[in-house]
């Protein structure tokens, strides 16, 4: 009790200095948390992937389609429970800056595979009845103010022309990490239109989604699917949904690494600031530490005083920083619109923030703590000036 009292009173002795150090910590821990959350958001697709879902695409590139006829052959592979498919649409809503993912999907099967999208039954039934109907995620609906019954015109880029959709359902995510920024519509609508406008592009599928019975057999089933189409005109590449999503992230991996590095550089900077504060503090109080030792207190006690003070300051700064991370992340996500479909502060990020703060508190006290513990009493007493 006495020890804690001494630690806390010492920490508050130079209010301005402690206040500025705490402010620095708050900014550092907050920045670290936000940057880590940005990295998490980058990997959100991979994090949300189901272990029993595979993705089959053209082995040459994602931009080349696969024949619709592959569907039944894939479904017949041992270990496959269900198959669905879809095409990336890539249209523009009003302006190019209004980016959000649009997928033409097989309405009858897609949502059986993606059970994390929660759709009210009556709205889903309305979607099935309307060939031009669309299902939008909650975040997307909130961003652009879409409501059930609204008409949404989209200008095609991959599939030229103006396309009209009617919002028939709004889906929510089963978990916070579920992406609710997507726009789904009937693959049949796309295919029938293509049959009229560009027949050669009809009956082509961008991606097959394969639901397998046992996640442990993912590699075996993937190989079996790809073996089916080896030496064909459209060879396939099958991988887990997670590997497929990470493949996208890999394309921008340098940015992710840079963000990660910056987040740790921020921590290093605050460590230097904190170490300076603690070094000044310990130097000023050298005579007090010497007095304590003269009275019979151990060098360990003196070191613990410095470590305690350093950790107390770090924990106060981290506490405020972590508390601020949530509202600031929410504000940041709102500013980013649908650029980051999932932008949530994870438990891992909070644990990292706490870990970094404690590490900073300990590291900053290492040198001054050691010095105060080892200083000869007579030298320390002389430091009184």
């Amino acid at each position: 009790m006495h020890f804690l009292k001494l630690v806390l009173r010492n920490a508050l002795r130079h209010k301005l200095r402690t206040g500025l150090t705490v402010l620095g910590l708050v900014v550092a821990i907050l920045s670290f948390g936000l940057l880590q959350t940005v990295v998490d958001a980058w990997y959100a697709g991979a994090a949300g992937a189901a272990p029993t879902r595979l993705v089959t695409r053209n082995a040459i590139s994602l931009v080349f389609p696969l024949p619709l006829s592959y569907r039944d052959r894939i479904r017949a592979v041992d270990g496959v429970r269900a198959v669905s498919y879809g095409n990336w649409f890539g249209g523009i809503y009003q302006e190019p800056k209004n980016f959000f993912p649009q997928f033409a999907i097989d309405a009858a099967t897609y949502f059986d595979l993606f059970r994390e999208y929660r759709i009210p039954d009556e709205e889903f039934a309305a979607f099935l009845r309307d060939r031009k109907g669309a299902i939008v995620g909650r975040k997307l609906a909130d961003t652009y103010g879409f409501r059930v019954g609204d008409n949404v015109p989209i200008r095609g880029t991959i599939y030229a022309g103006n396309w009209e959709f009617t919002v028939r359902a709004i889906y929510d995510g089963a978990e916070p990490k579920t992406d609710t920024s997507q726009f789904f519509f009937h693959w049949d609508y796309l295919n029938e239109t293509l049959k009229q406008r560009s027949r050669a592009r009809a009956d082509q599928v961008g991606i097959y989604f394969v639901d397998i019975i046992d996640a442990d057999r993912a590699a075996e089933v993937s190989q079996a699917i790809d073996a089916l189409f080896r030496n064909s005109l459209a060879e396939t590449l099958t991988e887990t949904e997670k590997a497929f999503q990470i493949g996208f992230v890999k394309q921008t991996e340098a940015i992710v690494i840079a963000i990660r590095l910056v987040s740790y550089v921020v921590i290093l900077i605050i460590l230097a600031v904190m170490a300076n504060t603690m070094a000044m503090t310990a130097r000023e109080r050298l005579s007090e530490y010497a007095t304590l030792k003269a009275l019979g207190f151990s060098p360990g006690y003196v070191a613990r005083l410095i470590f305690g003070e350093s950790i107390a300051i770090a924990v106060i700064g981290a506490g405020i920083g972590i508390a601020l991370t949530f509202p600031v992340a929410e504000w940041f996500a709102a500013q980013m619109g649908t650029l980051f479909p999932v932008f949530a502060v994870s438990r891992e990020t909070i644990a990292l923030q706490v870990g970094c703060a404690v590490a900073v508190g300990i590291a900053a006290a290492l040198v001054p703590g050691r010095r105060a513990a080892r200083v000869r009493i007579v030298d320390g007493l002389r430091a009184i000036g």
């Binding site: 006495h2 002795r13 151990s298 009493i377 009184i384």
Partner: protein
């Protein structure tokens, strides 16, 4: 002091201490021998740099000699390791410093209580002891004051209360009146005299102040590392 009857509380034989400064070895104390009996009040005088504070530090166990024997109440403290020496100081020595050396973030009460935190006394027992010590130095009404709210004389009295709180045999005082005005210095010296006379504390005091030294039973001069009895010592009868 050396020729008095009975076993001395402090017995120093052939004590040597030197410091290393800039690659050179500077001798501070050369072959010091001295006995101090329990209940003595010894003044140590000498010019600056003569080694009187060094000798005091050695006796108090906060510095180690290069050679020699230093027995305090039968314990050769030169043979104790750091941890044992810290325990020994906690139980046997009370410190009075020139600049009081109080913890500025603790109240007078908490400062005096500090050494008791190393004992097994309960909180209530500690409170009783601290209140008694502060009453002895006349600061009962200043218990909750911080050092910055006290005068120099009052701070030194708090430091004296802290020095006696564990009831040590030996009090060491390094220029205890060096930072005080004349009136406060007189109060502090009177208090130290009371501790010596009424409580039987053995006191060794380093001072430049002749008036302060006159409170001591005996004065020793230290010059160029050598100790000698003062020629004009004002020696009172030793109780």
């Amino acid at each position: 002091m050396n020729d008095a009857a009975g076993a001395p509380l402090i017995s120093i034989r052939n004590l040597v201490k030197s410091y290393r400064r800039g690659g050179q070895i500077v001798p501070v104390l050369t072959d010091i021998s001295l006995d101090v009996r329990a209940g003595d009040f010894l003044g140590l005088m000498g010019p600056s740099g003569s080694g009187k504070s060094t000798l005091l530090n050695l006796i108090a166990g906060i510095d180690k000699p290069d050679a020699g024997v230093l027995l305090v109440d039968g314990v050769d403290i030169t043979q104790l390791d750091e941890a044992a020496l810290a325990d020994w100081r906690a139980g046997n020595v009370g410190f009075i410093f020139q600049f009081y050396n109080l913890m500025p973030v603790l109240t007078a009460f908490e400062n005096v209580e500090l050494p008791l935190l190393l004992t097994r006394l309960s909180r209530a027992e500690r409170r009783d002891h601290v209140e008694a010590a502060l009453a002895l130095v006349g600061l009962t009404d200043r218990m909750e004051h911080y050092p910055s709210e006290l005068s120099g004389g009052q701070q030194q009295r708090v430091a004296i209360a802290r020095a006696i709180i564990t009831d040590p045999k030996l009090l060491v005082a390094d220029e205890p009146t060096g930072d005080l005005d004349r009136h406060s210095a007189e109060e502090v010296l009177t208090l130290m005299d009371r501790l010596n006379v009424e409580l039987g504390k053995t006191i060794i005091m380093v001072t430049h102040d002749r008036r302060a030294a006159e409170k001591a039973h005996a004065i020793m001069y230290l010059e160029k590392g050598e100790l000698s009895a003062a020629a004009d010592v004002h020696e009172r009868s030793v109780r």
